[in-house]
């Protein structure tokens, strides 16, 4: 039987506010346990929450970026359950009236196809603390630094049909929130994590199959792997005559599998009700207009512009607009060198390769966009050839000079285009290589083209790479053919 996969994602994005969603305590990552938890975060008797306006603004910005309806009135609810790292015994969230209503995100896959993924809603909530099970001799330690950190939970419709689409959607969300600057998007530190709802159904069937929810998947790769495993598990189960049960599962990246955490019967009754300590959030048009006017150019718009105005391929445009840092870097290289295609090649080629090798993000690149732009410019104006350019790039990477020109100067990499000088070097190479010249002359005419490579190499070597390779090639051919 042909099966179809149906996927919906709940993405939790940690908002980059300075302080917590309901208290003045700092949200900085990595502090000493419990050093960033004030009376409100500790849930001491008598304390009350006060909503952080910055968190509201960030949620609205996200909503505007995904063309969503922004709720004129949204309400915080209490989600009641007991857990040691949940200090109040309830999480303040938005169940019935979320701040961001239906919207949509466009994703582009490797094969250049685009899909629209609908967003059901996005709501604000507070994070819980962390339970630490190691180092406490059979007891559990509680760190409440994270308690009260603002989260935006973005809930998609079940619109994805493959693990690739799910990963692309997650990347699109990542790119939107980092473009907006409302999250650092750091998945390793938990700034973005997601719950994946997966079900399968026979192709052509309209009704959804029973879904399993995979909790807390925290990388793009894990999302794909968790879905791949889960889809296979469900199909096998059904084909063996079994039934998928609605349950919460956990992805174990070590074993590359998902495991059951709890079934629907064991699920909590969270007893949601409106939080009486917080007023409804009422937003007026002027506030929304103000935030709209502050929105930066978003990934989809950039991608479009890179294709239309700069003539880049869909693939290049998509890669270069994927993150705000990448896009801004590329745009600066382009501004300095003036050639979009070359700028794109260098950013995606030499630069990305070097960054990947050293596991650096583009924001931490040792070569600035301005430096790279100037380097590309020197290739374009024939000051250096491609080979020398790579050497200049390495020089910039290792801090051997502050600009491409300085390195070209210091290393003497300026391209030799003086015909007389090149001819002199060619004559010398021909004189020094009688055996190869004889071979060349004896060869079938159609094989000579390949054999000329040896002479080009020798001349380039003699010029220490500075000779213009096209010129060398032409002149060599003339001179060798004259010997026939």
């Amino acid at each position: 039987m042909q099966w179809e996969t149906v996927i919906g994602l709940e993405v939790h994005v940690q908002l980059a506010t300075h302080s917590k969603i309901f208290s003045g305590a700092s949200t900085a990552f990595g502090a000493e346990p419990n050093s960033q938890a004030c009376a409100v975060d500790l849930g001491l008797p008598g304390v009350l929450p006060v909503l952080n306006e910055q968190a509201v603004a960030m949620a609205v910005q996200f909503g505007l970026a995904v063309h969503a309806d922004i709720a004129e009135v949204s309400v915080f609810d209490r989600k009641n359950y007991f857990y040691p790292d949940l200090p109040k015994g309830y999480q303040t969230s938005q169940m019935y009236h979320p701040i961001v209503g239906p919207g949509e995100v466009e994703i582009t896959l490797d094969d250049d196809t685009t899909h629209r993924i609908r967003i059901h809603h996005a709501h604000l909530e507070e994070d819980a603390g962390k339970s630490l099970h190691e180092d406490f001799h059979g007891m559990t330690g509680i760190d409440l630094n994270r308690a009260g950190t603002p989260l935006l939970e973005i809930v998609s419709e079940p619109d994805m049909r493959s693990a690739k689409e799910a990963a692309a959607y997650l990347k699109a969300i990542h790119s939107i929130v980092t473009y907006l600057g409302i999250s650092d998007g750091n998945m390793a530190e938990g700034s973005m994590r997601c719950d994946v709802n997966v079900s399968v159904r026979p192709k052509g069937q309209e009704a959804f199959g029973t879904r399993a929810e995979i909790k807390n998947v925290n990388s793009f790769r894990f999302v794909e792997r968790a879905i791949a495993f889960e889809v296979e598990r469900q199909i096998e189960l059904i084909e063996d005559g079994g039934k998928v049960v609605q349950e919460t599962r956990l992805f174990d990246p070590e074993r590359d599998e998902t495991r059951s955490m709890r079934t629907k019967e064991e699920a909590n009754d969270y007893r949601y009700f409106p939080c009486p300590d917080l007023l409804p959030v009422v937003l007026d048009q002027a506030y929304l207009d103000h935030l709209r006017s502050q929105l930066p150019e978003l990934p989809a718009e950039k991608r479009e512009r890179f294709q239309q105005a700069l003539g880049l391929s869909a693939y290049d445009a998509s890669v270069l607009s994927a993150s705000r840092d990448m896009a801004e870097y590329f745009e600066e290289v382009h501004r300095v060198c003036g050639d979009a295609k070359q700028a794109a090649n260098w950013v995606q080629g030499e630069l990305s390769g070097a960054l990947n090798r050293e596991n650096l993000s583009i924001a931490n690149s040792p070569v600035t966009a301005g430096q790279l732009g100037e380097l590309v410019q020197r290739v374009l104006d024939d000051t250096i050839n491609g080979k020398a350019a790579k050497e200049v790039f390495q020089g910039l990477w290792h801090g051997e000079g502050t600009s491409a020109d300085a390195i070209i100067e210091a290393k003497g990499l300026k391209q030799v285009t003086d015909t007389g000088a090149i001819e002199a070097m060619i004559d010398q190479v021909i004189a020094d290589s009688p055996a190869q010249v004889a071979q060349y002359c004896d060869a079938e005419p159609e094989k000579r083209g390949k054999m000329i490579g040896y002479f080009v190499g020798q001349v380039m070597k003699a010029s220490r790479g500075t000779a213009n390779p096209q010129q060398v090639n032409g002149l060599l051919k003339e001179k060798l053919d004259a010997l026939l």
């Binding site: 849930g43 008797p45 304390v47 009350l48 040691p84 007893r271």
Partner: protein
């Protein structure tokens, strides 16, 4: 000197006739003498009180004193006080020293008041008789076999017995007004949002409100001046200017339109109480007010709605008492669930557990709409009843409680206890202010007249109550207990 009202004491402090230290020592001594009999205090903070008194006397000598500088006060043990036990009348918090002051406590400290101690109360403010306290019942100074009312029973008894010039209480369904009525003092529940709730241990967040309990309306006006105002730490506190509540105390009442809700004079009302209340109303007529009957048609839904909304909020508010970070923790828990279950079973008394169960049930999946959603609709109707009534009249008057103080141990059935609050509870659901003033006696047990106004009409209520107290002397009567132990 314990016979004086707060206003008289303030004058004596101001003129130098009395020092705060003399005054504080006097009240501390009275608390010591009668404390065991009345059981109105959970903690007495003598050392701190004397320090505060000395600081107040110095401030007065320097000329930086305000009206309340050096004034001794007692705080219901629901207000968080830095470094001092804040038990909320519960075993759960018997070991809890708050690391901060409630906003109201902070404001009163800034005004220079002296804290004598923390008063007894029904556990987590759940009760109408002060019998649910972990620290034992409080006795009514007018009759030691009677309850003082609740939940602010300790505050009411302490003021009535002359153990403090005034005290703070909180009122979620009548917890200031009913004990004020039972103990023959004046107690004001302000409009919801008028006084910050920050640092007041929450019972039902959408209903809780702190207010003054004292000998007279004028005393309450002075205290409210210091307590009221917007607080950036409480989102539900209202950003609205605070008038000087003493300025309008003497406005004449001629032309005042009084409404008597017929639902407040129906079945269940003790005829003697009704008689006292109607006599009080006639005093206002003699002051130039007009009286008419009005109707609050949804009154009989108030208790059911309250007992859905308040326990629902309480069940959630009290979840933080889980034995993990503060408060009571059971010995040797075998695992996490055991820790939760036993800590809470041991830490909470019966009435608190009952309300947590009710609230947990009404919020459960499948019951939420039938209970909580419906109760919220009823709440809106009740509020509308009041708003409609205030289209026609300026204030509403009626009894604060259907009977005078009942005997200790008399109400064994929780529902009969809940019905005690029939005249006070709707006021909290509507968020409007109300005041109870002494208006007579039935068998030497005080009767309270309740006066209600529209949102933020505190100045008017205090004015109306003050004018009554200029004409009558019910509020100046003292129980024998206060005289004997003097």
């Amino acid at each position: 000197m314990h016979d004086k009202t707060l206003t008289q004491i303030a004058n004596a402090l101001g003129s130098g006739e009395l020092s705060s230290r003399e005054l504080t020592e006097h009240y501390l001594q009275r608390i010591q003498q009668s404390g065991a009999i009345l059981n109105s205090f959970i903690s007495v903070t003598a050392d701190q009180a004397l320090e505060q008194a000395d600081a107040a006397d110095q401030a007065r000598a320097k000329g930086t004193a305000g009206l309340l500088t050096g004034m001794p006060l007692a705080l219901k043990d629901i207000f968080c006080t830095q470094g001092i036990k804040t038990s909320c009348g519960s075993r759960m918090l018997d070991n809890f020293n708050a690391p901060y002051d409630a906003t109201v406590v902070e404001k009163l400290k800034t005004a220079g008041t002296v804290t004598l101690g923390k008063t007894n109360m029904d556990e987590f403010a759940m009760g109408s008789s002060n019998e649910s306290s972990y620290y034992g019942p409080v006795k009514n100074p007018w009759d030691l076999t009677a309850v003082p009312g609740g939940s602010s029973g300790g505050s009411a008894a302490a003021v009535a017995a002359g153990l403090t010039p005034a005290a703070l209480g909180t009122d979620t369904g009548g917890s200031i007004r009913q004990p004020a009525a039972f103990c023959g003092i004046t107690g004001l529940k302000p409009t919801y949002g008028r006084v910050s709730r920050y640092g007041i241990i929450a019972y039902a967040s959408s209903l809780d409100q702190a207010g003054p309990m004292a000998r007279s309306a004028e005393d309450c006006a002075h205290l409210l001046n210091a307590m009221a105002g917007h607080d950036g730490r409480d989102s539900t506190s209202v950003a609205r200017g605070v008038p000087d509540y003493t300025e309008t105390l003497n406005s004449p009442l001629s032309g005042l339109k009084i409404g008597l809700p017929k639902e407040y004079f129906g079945e269940g009302l003790d005829p003697e109480v009704e008689k006292a209340v109607r006599e009080a109303v006639s005093v206002f007529e003699s002051l130039g007010a007009t009286v008419r009957d009005v109707s609050l048609p949804h009154t009989h839904y108030a208790i059911p709605a309250y007992y859905v909304i308040a326990p629902a909020e309480a069940s959630s508010n009290l979840s933080r008492f889980d034995g993990v970070r503060f408060g009571h923790r059971c010995d040797n828990p075998s695992d996490l669930i055991d820790l939760y279950k036993r800590s809470r079973a041991e830490g909470f008394g019966d009435e608190v557990q009952r309300r947590i169960l009710i609230g947990t049930h009404t919020l459960s999946e499948g019951f939420f709409d039938a209970y909580y959603t419906k109760a919220q609709k009823v709440r809106r109707l009740i509020r509308q009843d009041f708003l409609d009534a205030f289209e026609d009249v300026d204030v509403l008057m009626g009894p604060a409680s259907p009977t005078p103080a009942f005997d200790l141990g008399a109400k064994k059935d929780p529902v009969s206890m809940y019905l005690q609050d029939i005249y006070t509870i709707a006021v909290n659901l509507a968020g409007i202010p109300g005041i109870s003033v002494p208006a007579g006696f039935v068998d030497r047990r005080p009767v309270g007249l309740q006066i209600l106004g529209t949102h933020f009409a505190e100045a008017q209520l205090l004015n109306v109550a003050h004018q009554f107290q200029q004409t009558t002397d019910w509020h100046l009567q003292r129980p024998d207990f206060a005289e004997e132990s003097a």
